[in-house]
């Protein structure tokens, strides 16, 4: 007796359809799973046997062969427990075989027959939707993940008996109700708000520009000057995610097994890996090639606090994904490509003791110490950071007399406007999402300057000794500044302001 059903596996952040075929035939009792199963899939034999028996169904004393097709793709994880169990029951006519052959089933079984949630349900559901599947059975614990997908009936189940009763029509289950994306975006309430950052006018202005143009930022300042706090405030001023952006971000988190409570990432992710982070945890990889921090920060912020403390090879590994916007991880068992378009915010002290240039403390470092400290960050990495800003230390007595500053809400509105202008301008070029991604060719085309601006730039190049890279960076940032003002041409004021954001290039660092 043969029965088939459908299920889903993962390849990168895409779901792949797997056909689960079960054949029960006469012979010595045996239970074989074929089709490149990994250890977790092979172990499912024991879970299935126990679960089926504990739910009160007899387990066939025959030769059972399970095939997971296509047979040449490696199958991982426990998500195939439920489809195999259901297909075995179908072979015994406990379940109508015709009712399952066009349904997709996902779920891990507990020994008592209850169904446990699995990771990566969202990308699987999206693929199912694309493949024209209309019904999908999934663990109740995963139901929130699929709430935003319409066109597929998702049946959340709690145990194996539920599934049998659902398929026989004995006890129907209501499909998951879909929720409109706009309703999922909560009111913009953030734990970290620029309202609470006192002073730091120049740094705040710089972060506004960075958010508006998607520029990478390096903040340099003494300890306790508020670098970390300000970085945490950045998500509150970033533009809202579109449904597609939210979906991609959620897919990555779904694959990584770090799903948010409400099922969909509606806020831009903010990832701040510790500086002891390994290459694999940052870029992705491991035995199963899971996404790393840079992918989890996709469409959001990757914050590296104390940049020089990170291992050099780890930092260098960031360069290629930053350029490409995706990272491809190759392992023996799999090759996965994960998107990694993030805004990089890093912070560092100006010197080992942290007080170089501070008004409140004395710096104890020799010029040599400072040079050594700064050289821990490679030039190529610095070249990928458009804005270097200096954060000044604020003496305690000045903190108290600062009035409350502008709330994130207002800054956010300006950032949204600037991004809207950019989207319109780059509409024809899908790979160009924001000013930070301008290349040398597109720079010429999209950054017209007036005569004064050109003269100012030339003057600056001569007197400040700007490198070519710094030159392009300044134009990009100036473009964003003019977008914030709603101007189509870059003027000399914009260039002048952009020239402020190159602290590391300044002579006194060398």
């Amino acid at each position: 007796m043969l029965s088939t059903t459908l299920s889903y596996g993962l390849s990168g952040i895409d779901g792949i359809q797997i056909t689960v075929e079960v054949n029960v035939s006469n012979g010595l009792p045996a239970f074989e799973i074929v089709g490149l199963p990994d250890a977790a899939v092979k172990e499912s034999r024991e879970r299935i046997r126990a679960a089926v028996k504990n739910c009160g169904y007899p387990f066939p004393d025959d030769r059972i062969t399970v095939n997971l097709a296509p047979a040449d793709i490696r199958k991982e994880g426990p998500a195939f427990d439920l489809p195999i169990a259901v297909a075995i029951l179908a072979c015994q006519k406990r379940v109508n075989p015709n009712s399952i052959c066009m349904r997709a089933i996902l779920g891990e079984l507990a020994l008592d027959g209850s169904v446990r949630p699995v990771r990566g349900v969202l990308p699987m559901a999206i693929s199912a939707h694309d493949h024209g599947i209309t019904d999908m059975i999934l663990p109740k614990g995963n139901e929130k993940e699929v709430m935003c997908i319409s066109g597929v009936n998702f049946y959340p189940v709690e145990n194996l008996t539920d599934v049998v009763k659902l398929l026989s029509g004995e006890k129907p289950i209501a499909p998951v109700e879909t929720i409109e994306f706009s309703r999922m975006i909560q009111s913009r309430e953030h734990a970290f708000d620029f309202r609470y950052v006192k002073g730091q006018r120049s740094a705040k202005r710089a972060l506004e520009i960075a958010a508006a143009g998607g520029h990478n930022v390096l903040m340099v300042g003494p300890p306790g000057s508020g670098k970390t706090l300000m970085a945490r405030c950045v998500p509150s001023i970033l533009p809202d995610m579109s449904f597609d952006e939210a979906l991609v971000a959620t897919r990555i988190h779904s694959v990584a097994g770090s799903m948010p409570e409400n099922g969909l990432l509606t806020e831009r992710p903010f990832r701040s890996p510790h500086h002891t982070a390994s290459h694999v945890s940052l870029v992705g990889g491991g035995v199963h090639a899971v996404p790393g921090e840079i992918s989890k920060a996709h469409n959001g912020v990757l914050f590296l606090d104390e940049l020089p403390e990170y291992r050099r090879d780890v930092l260098e590994a960031l360069r290629q994904p930053m350029e490409d916007g995706f990272v491809t991880i190759t392992r023996v068992s799999a090759q996965s490509t994960y998107p990694s378009e993030f805004m990089l915010i890093c912070s560092m002290n100006p010197c080992p003791c942290g007080h170089y240039g501070s008004k409140t403390h004395e710096c104890r470092c020799t010029p040599n110490d400072i040079r050594k400290y700064l050289s821990r960050i490679s030039g190529p990495l610095l070249d990928r950071i458009d804005m270097h800003i200096e954060v000044e230390s604020i003496p305690a007595e000045r903190l108290s007399d600062e009035q409350e500053s502008e709330p994130s809400k207002d800054i956010h509105a300006r950032v949204e406007n600037a991004r809207a202008i950019q989207r319109k301008r780059y509409a024809a070029l899908p790979s160009l999402a924001c000013n930070a991604r301008l290349s040398a060719q597109t720079l010429q085309r999209f950054c017209p300057m007036d005569k004064d601006a050109r003269e100012m730039l030339n003057l600056a190049t001569q007197s400040m000794g700007l490198s070519n890279r710094a030159f392009t960076r300044i134009i990009k940032v100036a473009r964003t500044i003019s977008d914030l003002e709603g101007k189509s041409k870059i003027t000399s004021e914009h260039i002048a302001e952009a020239l402020q954001y190159r602290a590391i290039d300044d002579k006194y660092w060398h």
């Binding site: 002073g199 730091q200 006018r201 120049s202 705040k204 202005r205 003494p222 100006p350 170089y356 240039g357 501070s358 008004k359 004395e362 710096c363 020799t366 010029p367 040599n368 200096e390 954060v391 000044e392 230390s393 604020i394 600062e402 100012m456 003057l459 600056a460 007197s463 400040m464 500044i481 000399s492 004021e493 914009h494 002048a496 302001e497 020239l499 402020q500 602290a503 300044d506 006194y508």
Partner: protein, 363 residues
């Protein structure tokens, strides 16, 4: 360099490990001749401690003797014993003059009349750096030799500024001439020699820097010069040791006054309180030493710079004191974007300068 026989023995004696200026002085005063000690080292036994005596006996070998002079020759170093005619007389004012002065570069310069020591902290403030460079430039233009210690900070600036304005300078090291400290100043050291200056030390060429050797060399800086200018330094700094030495030698002491709250002006302010001459301009020193005559007041020395209304506001603020971006923004109420571009314009025009810590000051 050819040395007289007697001179050779003096240089050898001084190079013995543990031979301090005092022990050397005692030996020379009692036994009169270094050669006599070579011939009969036991005569020194009762005059110096056991350890040094053992070292002396160890060094009394043909091989060590030849090696010493070979090293001097190879490194282009001239050794001058305190009895040599070229030995700077001013050093003999010291209670414990260096037995031998090792010199690279010009020897004649050591005999110069007009010498001013410029000393200060290793971590100067912006004002300190500016003062050092302005004073040294003006003073060295009057053909005054600038003496300093080749340390980081003020010392380095003093040497560099002197070379820049075409003057000659002497660096007194706290280590042997072949073991540069701090290492990053090796290039500056060569520059000093090439521009007609000299680098000197009382330590044998290969001896490394010691904790005590820096305060010790300060006495040489003070003794060589007619006057000592202290630019910045805390109360307990090496610059203050130099000043104390200068006082013992009745050299003139000049100090740059600073704010009573500035920690690095503690030293100079303290000196002024105790009678040092407050130097408000290089001409104060030049006139006091009769090295030059103050030029007549120039009419409107500052260039007239045309500033617009907003720029004037900022420049007026910064003329009082350096301020950070936040402070300027708070006092002027300019928006961050306006202020950013105003400041850049002023920087590009060379009116103000950006300094570490996101702050700005008038040049």
């Amino acid at each position: 360099m050819e040395y007289e026989i007697k001179e050779q023995y003096r240089i050898w004696l001084a190079s013995v490990r543990g031979m301090t200026p005092r022990k050397y002085k005692l030996l020379m005063e009692t036994l009169e001749d270094a050669q006599a000690i070579w011939d009969n080292p036991d005569s020194a036994k009762d005059l110096i401690d056991e350890k040094t005596f053992q070292q002396l006996k160890k060094a009394r070998a043909q091989e060590a003797f030849i090696r010493l002079f070979y090293t001097l020759d190879k490194s282009g170093i001239t050794a001058l014993s305190s009895s040599h005619a070229d030995y700077p007389e001013s050093l003999l004012d010291l209670f414990d003059p260096p037995p031998v002065l090792y010199v690279r570069g010009s020897i004649e310069i050591l005999k110069e009349e007009k010498m001013l020591a410029v000393v200060g902290t290793r971590t100067p403030t912006f004002d300190g750096k500016k003062t050092a460079s302005e004073f040294v430039k003006a003073i060295s233009e009057e053909d005054v030799v600038i003496v300093s210690g080749l340390a980081r900070g003020i010392d380095t600036i003093a040497h560099e500024s002197c070379i820049q304005s075409g003057g000659r300078t002497i660096a007194v090291l706290g280590s042997g001439l072949n073991s540069m400290y701090p290492p990053e100043n090796a290039e500056l050291c060569e520059n000093i020699i090439q521009t007609g200056g000299a680098v000197v030390s009382e330590m044998p060429p290969d001896e490394g820097p010691q904790k005590w050797s820096f305060p010790a060399r300060n006495r040489i800086i003070a003794a060589l010069s007619k006057g000592v200018l202290i630019i910045e330094g805390k109360k307990t700094s090496g610059a203050m040791i130099t000043a104390a030495n200068a006082l013992d030698l009745s050299r003139d002491i000049y100090a740059i006054p600073g704010s009573i709250y500035a920690r690095l002006s503690e030293g100079p302010n303290h000196l002024i309180q105790n009678g040092a001459f407050p130097a408000l301009s290089p001409w104060d020193i030049l006139e006091a030493e009769r090295w030059g005559v103050r030029p007549g007041e120039k009419q409107d020395a500052k260039k007239k710079i045309s500033l617009n209304e907003n720029e004037t506001v900022i420049v007026n603020l910064l003329e009082i004191q350096p301020l950070s971006f936040d402070e300027i923004s708070k006092q002027t109420q300019f928006s961050s974007s306006t202020l950013n571009s105003l400041l850049t314009m002023l920087v590009l025009r060379g009116i103000i300068i950006k300094t570490p810590g996101n702050s700005y000051r008038i040049i």
